[in-house]
């Protein structure tokens, strides 16, 4: 601490209790992408949950949209250090999607149109903590942000919220996904700053 004060007393990152360590606030919604944006018509869209026994649960778009949906207001935290507070989503809870799924596996791999993958422990998907989201800010989710539907797991870094999600595969072990194979943390809790291995 220097002798002189700058005279400013604005809220920095350290005194905003909603910002995890090492994060800064953004009002925009940056688009991060590791590949070209898939354009998936809802007529062609499907979502699957595949269990360790080989059983596959399927929903087409109409079946998926007929499931009970929830409005979710949540903060999101990208591992590239931006955080956006109070974002508004609508989606189907993973608790709903898993309600008829029998599994003893503890880990999952989310798969996306375009080939992206990310691993998430099942405990992080259940208990009102994760959704398959189809609206953002009251509008249909744009392809650049993962539409027609993306995973939303806001208590983990946002790379876990797989855009263009097409399914979840149950795993007996916590195998790494696209970024987790190359330095990024297996779980990615922003409050523990679990960015890298």
């Amino acid at each position: 601490m220097g002798f002189f004060s700058s005279g400013f007393s604005g809220r920095g990152r350290s005194d905003n209790p909603d910002l995890p360590p090492g994060q800064y606030l953004t009002e925009s919604f940056p688009v991060l992408s590791a590949g070209p944006t898939p354009r998936i018509a809802t007529d062609d869209w499907e979502f699957t949950i595949a269990t360790e026994t080989g059983k596959v649960h399927r929903w087409n778009w109409a079946e998926f949209r007929a499931l009970p949906a929830e409005d979710v207001t949540t903060d999101i935290h990208c591992v590239t250090s931006w955080s956006k507070l109070g974002t508004g989503w609508r989606g189907v809870s993973l608790d709903t999607l898993f309600s008829g799924v029998e599994t003893s596996a503890e880990f999952t791999m989310a798969h996306s149109y375009g080939g992206y993958t990310t691993n998430v422990p099942l405990d992080d998907l259940l208990g009102g903590k994760a959704w398959v989201a189809f609206d953002f800010d009251g509008e249909a989710l744009e392809p650049e942000h993962g539409g027609p539907a993306r995973l939303l797991v806001p208590h983990l870094y946002f790379w876990k919220s797989a855009k263009w999600v097409r399914g979840i595969r149950m795993m007996q072990s916590d195998d790494p996904g696209f970024w987790e194979q190359n330095g990024y943390h297996l779980r990615g809790d922003p409050w523990l700053e679990q960015r890298y291995w």
Partner: protein, 90 residues
């Protein structure tokens, strides 16, 4: 190949790759392990608005190279390349 915004050509990977290698790898020719296309890394498609650098095949969009660098460690994944041909300086 699908169109994409916010991409660069592989030339822009020269700096980050030079920090890992002592030669300019963007001049090296790589073979896509998916479709077999061979081209200079400089001619590939680079996605850098991402948690790391992702270089994809200009022909089939397959991932050729991933580079994550956290400042103290770097992770380089070359699985998508069946080879890299590096021409030695004469």
């Amino acid at each position: 190949m699908m169109t994409a915004d916010n991409v660069l050509d592989g030339n822009a990977a020269a700096g980050p790759l030079l920090e890992i290698f002592s030669v300019d790898l963007t001049a090296a020719h790589g073979r896509c392990d998916e479709c077999g296309r061979v081209c200079a890394l400089a001619e590939t498609v680079l996605y850098n608005h991402a948690p790391g650098l992702v270089i994809r095949c200009v022909g089939c969009d397959a991932v050729l190279l991933r580079l994550v660098d956290n400042g103290t460690r770097a992770w380089l994944d070359l699985r998508g390349l069946s080879y890299l041909q590096i021409d030695r300086a004469q």
